[in-house]
Symmetry: C2
Subunit: 214 residues, 2 copies
């Protein structure tokens, strides 16, 4: 299989979510790439290209079987099983992530939360109790492979190294700093400013064009 670009994965998730919504409606059993693309804000060509990484789907002139494509995407994305996740950091962001309902709908569940802050350790967040990072070893037996870093920049590298030691293979990093980890650890940097700067960029372009056209 060719290497799959990140934006394709993001769109596959959007298709999957939309198909899941449609699958609850018995009146509609088929959807064409044009409609699927439109509903999630992309083109029919993009839908077909994204799916082509994983084989052939749908019938020309007919479209995709909603239930069938939903199930295929579930297998492709790895969502046909549940995934336990460990969260590091029980601040506002950590609490928001614990309470984010969309994860559970995808069978992703934050099952442990750790912090260094003695004021936070022992507190309840959702159904979880915040534990001390010193006791991180306790998760080894749970077979957790995914960790979320929602800690301050200065703690990020140290905490990431501890996560790798307890068997974490993929890290979703919210701390705006690069991490230096073994190459087999997958790191996804969530840079919240860059989404906001993206909006600034487009508004700025519009304003600049307006000024040029005056």
């Amino acid at each position: 299989m060719k290497s799959v670009p990140q934006p394709t994965i993001h769109r596959l998730v959007a298709y999957y979510r939309h198909l899941k919504r449609l699958a609850g409606n018995n009146d509609q059993t088929v959807i064409c790439s044009k409609k699927l693309g439109h509903d999630v804000g992309t083109s029919s060509a993009q839908v077909r290209k994204d799916l082509s990484y994983f084989g052939e789907f749908g019938c020309k002139g007919v479209g995709y079987d909603i239930q069938g494509l939903k199930k295929s995407l579930e297998v492709i994305l790895g969502l046909n099983r549940s995934w336990p996740v460990v969260l590091l950091g029980a601040g506002n962001l950590g609490r928001a992530l614990i309470n984010y309902q969309e994860f559970k709908k995808m069978r992703l569940e934050i099952v442990e939360v750790f912090d260094y802050d003695l004021d936070k350790i022992g507190n309840n967040v959702g159904n979880l109790v915040v534990k001390n990072v010193k006791n991180l070893d306790s998760i080894i037996s749970r077979g957790i492979q995914i960790g979320i870093l929602a800690v301050p920049v200065e703690e990020a590298q140290g905490v990431a190294e501890r996560l790798v030691k307890v068997g974490i293979k993929a890290i979703w990093n919210f701390a705006p700093t690069p991490l230096n980890l073994p190459p087999d650890v997958i790191i996804y940097h969530e840079d919240l400013s860059s989404s906001l700067v993206g909006l600034v960029f487009y508004i700025n372009q519009l304003e600049t064009k307006v000024i040029k056209n005056l």
Copy 2:
């Protein structure tokens, strides 16, 4: 100018942030595309391609002048001025965004926060006081063009429409639901699950390969 893909904007922000860091160090005045790419986790070809949307930068065989490229990116991204932002929703996510220090470093500042929840209205978050969404009109005179939606799914469409009425031209939507708004409003959907599913996808691929190779 050709339309600039979203991933390019995200990388430009990463280059800009890195150059800002380097600009504080007087020993180094020039950086080559290979080093810049490496430092932010991409290739030299990608760096050159991303910058090529905006003209010619750097000298072949020499590299980019760090201060010069930083300033150019500042203008390209619209970060040579400050941008006030309004936030809708003062829950955990909203509070995390208000306290996220990276925005201010980019001259993006959440200057107003609104909520429907009477338990939250009047509370302090950071330096702000949570106001009632009913009084959203009060921001018209402030010339705010960017809004962040951190409200529950069922409130998202209604609140987004109110934002458009008070002059918002770009919306960063954290609610996992599509928004139906006039076509001149720019919407950026932040789908936190899709980042996490991206990690699941890669781990699942690794495991599947391991099983196939047994």
